[in-house]
Amino acid sequence: DVKVTQSSRYLVKRTGEKVFLECVQDMDHENMFWYRQDPGLGLRLIYFSYDVKMKEKGDIPEGYSVSREKKERFSLILESASTNQTSMYLCASSLGRYQETQYFGPGTRLLVL
């Protein structure tokens, strides 16, 4: 079974802090994704990566950056956390260009005070 793990289930940070969210997948997937999920808004794509060191902006990249130094790991960085970044963050991966199924991690619930 594909396993996607996220570094924390719950995280509390202060405004202005730099926040790292880590995601690791164990199935040699090419593509990795970061979403945020908010009530009434569904899932919105922040960034995705289709290869090591490659990244593409999603629909809401402002205030976020990402890093993919190794194939299995995709990090989401909040350079200076703000209260409007309080959300559930979901990482996902998919096998390759024509394998559309995405496999999700359990999510990180981030609270920015």
Partner: protein
């Protein structure tokens, strides 16, 4: 704007009844996927239906796609309390696996 809008946003049924959720979208798609999310957890893939397919089955799940109406439906037959979850449709219109999720239908199955 969000693609893949689900309807209804919430649904409450008795165990044993069928549950139908609908999804509409605005532009052409390569495929449409349905996912399930238990409260506070990640999403789990259920079914993928391609634009040239009209119907797919998986166990108690049946998905239909009507490209002329730009809509899809997910039917769960003989529902169980364990089916209580949120269900999302996700539209893929090509290019590096990017999909666009709707806002979901929250299903409650009452035992």
């Amino acid at each position: 704007s969000q693609q893949g809008e689900e309807d209804p946003q919430a649904l409450s049924i008795q165990e044993g009844e069928n549950a139908t959720m609908n999804c509409s979208y605005k532009t052409s798609i390569n495929n449409l996927q349905w996912y399930r999310q238990n409260s506070g957890r990640g999403l789990v893939h259920l079914i993928l239906i391609r634009s040239n397919e009209r119907e797919k089955h998986s166990g108690r799940l049946r998905v239909t796609l009507d490209t002329s109406k730009k809509s899809s439906s997910l039917l769960i037959t003989a529902s169980r309390a364990a089916d209580t979850a949120s269900y999302f449709c996700a539209k893929n219109s090509g290019g590096y696996q990017k999909v666009t999720f709707g806002i979901g239908t929250k299903l409650q199955v009452i035992p």
